[in-house]
Symmetry: C2
Subunit: 205 residues, 2 copies
Amino acid sequence: MNGQYPSLLLEKAVGEFAKLPGIGRKSAMRLVLYLLRQDTAAVEAFGEAIVTLKREVKYCKVCHNISDTDVCGICSNPRRDASTICVVESIRDVMAVEATQQYFGVYHVLGGVISPMDGIGPDDLQIDSLVQRVEQGGIAEVVLALSSTMEGDTTNFFIYRLLEHTGVKVSIIARGISVGDELEYADEVTLGRSIVNRTRFTGPA
Amino acid sequence: MNGQYPSLLLEKAVGEFAKLPGIGRKSAMRLVLYLLRQDTAAVEAFGEAIVTLKREVKYCKVCHNISDTDVCGICSNPRRDASTICVVESIRDVMAVEATQQYFGVYHVLGGVISPMDGIGPDDLQIDSLVQRVEQGGIAEVVLALSSTMEGDTTNFFIYRLLEHTGVKVSIIARGISVGDELEYADEVTLGRSIVNRTRFTGPA
């Protein structure tokens, strides 16, 4: 017995799974034993999918979204409005905005937000390339869609200042009461913002 | 865009992770993006650990526990009592019993329990090989340590009948109130069993 594991190979595989966020050693063991019960081809497909992704993944030259091609499917789509850029933190946020089917412009993936606590400064993010995109012209609006946190707010302001000289319209996604939420459970900052930023009521949506 | 995924490679990797038990597509996406942020060597180590385990894993010829060698470290350990066999469902149960540091015999891993609902019959389990081990002689006691479920009980009884002719002592792990549990929250079957199977009190443990 090596520690409590009957096999070094098992221990190694469990250790690799346990490195993943939110997966402890017990869950890791469960996942590894599940994979062991599958046939070899299925396990190889699993191992190869992630290694191939890591080796062959590309990031769009324009918006830095993940892509199989040099320019991603959104940036190269002629039906998307290339004059509107939505600035997001991550690929997951692109997918979240896309899922709303309410946005028809293009994106710019920063790769995070400015966070001195985590040692992430402007140079670690795709901020320079955003400013260059705007300076090259043809951009009418930049929509800031970052997290509503201190770091997100800092990054919003930082980008706003860098874009000021270009005269481009900079907007920010609305903060307010979530659809379906009851007022009494909303925090006061959100509720306050939703009152300040109230919009004209034009009948039921 | 392929569906909502910006990359086919990404979609494939997420799909593989989402096949794992208890991992949905959102968690899978989170895990894949986490791995993408690691360096290539780390991702390859992850992929290889599981594929190598699957390819090279051995099961102990004697007890069917997972092992790096033909006979596992427990079966080949001269300090273990080879005349006592603890029958468990899975490798995880071996690890659980080992963690108690209260058992010094050897094991027999069935690979599951008899479950007609799941299409698992006696022939799908390592029951024949258990009977053979006992028939070969040198075994004083077989300790049944299966789940306390209908399937576990059925399997216990099935094994008991098959071993009856050998005259070996067959015992079963105690069912009772968990250490630290309050009586009022114990279910009545467990409480009833703990009364029927009461043991002589010999002072604080």
